[in-house]
């Protein structure tokens, strides 16, 4: 059922100016998969996401997208290759309106798709209601929805989500998980997400990598993900 390898990460090392964080991360994601990355605070999950999108340089090892190395490709060109990224802690453009925030997301596709905004509004009705509000004054959870909606505007073929459930009310967490799964089924979008919320992991993930101290230390398959306690155990490796 699974197709080619979309993302192939080999012996990846990265960090912050001389301070190594990722120390040999190895994993693969196939086209159309939904993969979770879990681990304790500070093990390097966000660092991994930032390195994948190109906000941090690869120090050693390599990242391959569809078989071609993208280590030397700048972040915006990685985005142009169809990678969408939702950073941890929202990072909306605070002094722009909700609608303007959404429009920036079109850059991933490099074109604007008519009707796309309305599609996003259907997923997240609050965004329509507040289309003209400055994003910085939205509530925490509203901003998270905006950040996800913004990336969807660019119709990425792969989405990197960093703790999407953080600060979101329970029923919307469920909605987001459902939306992502739906999108995955309909459009075949690949999703890699970092998460701590057990329910969300279970609702979304097909596979799961466990990180500790800058490495992947375990992989959980679909079976293992059925069990809450297994996930909990691995979450606190």
């Amino acid at each position: 059922m699974h197709k080619e390898v979309l993302l192939d990460v080999i012996e990846l090392n990265a960090g912050y100016g001389g301070k190594p964080v990722l120390q040999g991360v190895d994993f693969q994601v196939r086209e159309g998969e939904i993969v979770a990355v879990i681990g304790r605070n500070g093990v390097g999950k966000s660092t991994l996401m930032k390195t994948l999108i190109g906000l941090l340089p690869t120090d050693k090892g390599s990242i391959n997208l569809r078989g071609a190395s993208i280590d030397l490709v700048s972040a915006h060109n990685r985005a142009r290759k169809g990678i969408g990224y939702v950073p941890q802690g929202r990072d909306v453009f605070p002094r722009m309106t909700v609608l303007e925030n959404l429009l920036v997301g079109e850059s991933i596709a490099g074109k604007s798709t008519p009707g796309k905004v309305d599609e996003i509004y259907r997923y997240f009705p609050i965004l329509k209601e507040r289309a003209d509000q400055r994003a910085g004054t939205m509530s925490g959870g509203q901003q998270q929805q905006l950040a996800i909606g913004r990336v969807l505007m660019g119709e990425p073929s792969m989405i990197l989500l960093d703790e999407p459930s953080e600060g979101i009310q329970p029923n919307i967490v469920q909605d987001i998980a459902r939306i992502m799964v739906e999108l995955n089924r309909e459009t075949g979008v690949t999703v890699v997400f970092v998460e701590q919320n057990v329910d969300m992991i279970r609702a979304m993930a097909q596979r799961c990598y466990v990180m500790d101290k800058g490495r992947i230390v375990a992989e959980l398959d679909r079976e293992m993900l059925q069990d809450r306690d297994t996930i909990r155990r691995y979450l606190s490796v």
Binding site: Y16, I38, R40, N41, G42, S46, Q88, G89, I126, T137, M138, S139, G140, G141, Q142, Q144, Q145, E163, E166, G167, I168, Q169, P170, N171, I172, V173, Q174, D175, Q196, V198, R232, L235, S236
Partner: protein, 238 residues
Amino acid sequence: MAILETRQLNKHFGGLHVTGNVDFALQPGEMHCLIGPNGAGKSTFFKLILGEHLPDSGEILYDGEEITRAKPFERIRKGISVKFQVPGIFKELSVQQNLTIALQHHVAPEILQEEIDRLLEFLKLSQDRKQLAGNLSHGQKQWLEIGMAVALKPRLLLLDEPTAGMTPDETFATGEMLQELNREGMTLLAVEHDMAFVRQIAHQVTVLHFGKIFAQGTIDEIVADERVAAIYLGEVDA
């Protein structure tokens, strides 16, 4: 007498009414959770209590004393302390300095270092003590922010989503820590979306919806309330 009480508290931004006539009382020694949909006005309610925003009308009482228009720092000095939703740490200062600034008020210089070490240990940040706070991971920042709030030894602690970004175990440990502090006499008001955590600590739960109190009760009562499930919880198994 309630340690914190609001009477008919109103706040609007432009045409948007963010809190509407909120009457709320918190008893000393209580552990109370405030839940509600995104944008319900929970964080705004906190900011009103702290004086970061001033209400359009209504009153806020702390320990029976009116503080509606008091300056934020005056409220803190009366014994309130807060962990914000978005961590407000001092990014370019070391973790250790962050804690020093929180502690130096009320901790004698001779034991300041000891106290810092104790807190660092507790926050699992001992190794990162010299790290600039801005370079911490997201979760570590949350921890530091909680540490600073707790360091003030408040009588009333306000926590806005304290466990966001924590693993279930960490969340549980945080709950235990808070219960410990509560046993020592601290009153607690927390905003949370993590129902397991709410269940763990809350004596009472208030649901805020469109700026109004929508429901109030124990966690079991709230979870059982179908209206709350409809607007907020969805299909939980908390």
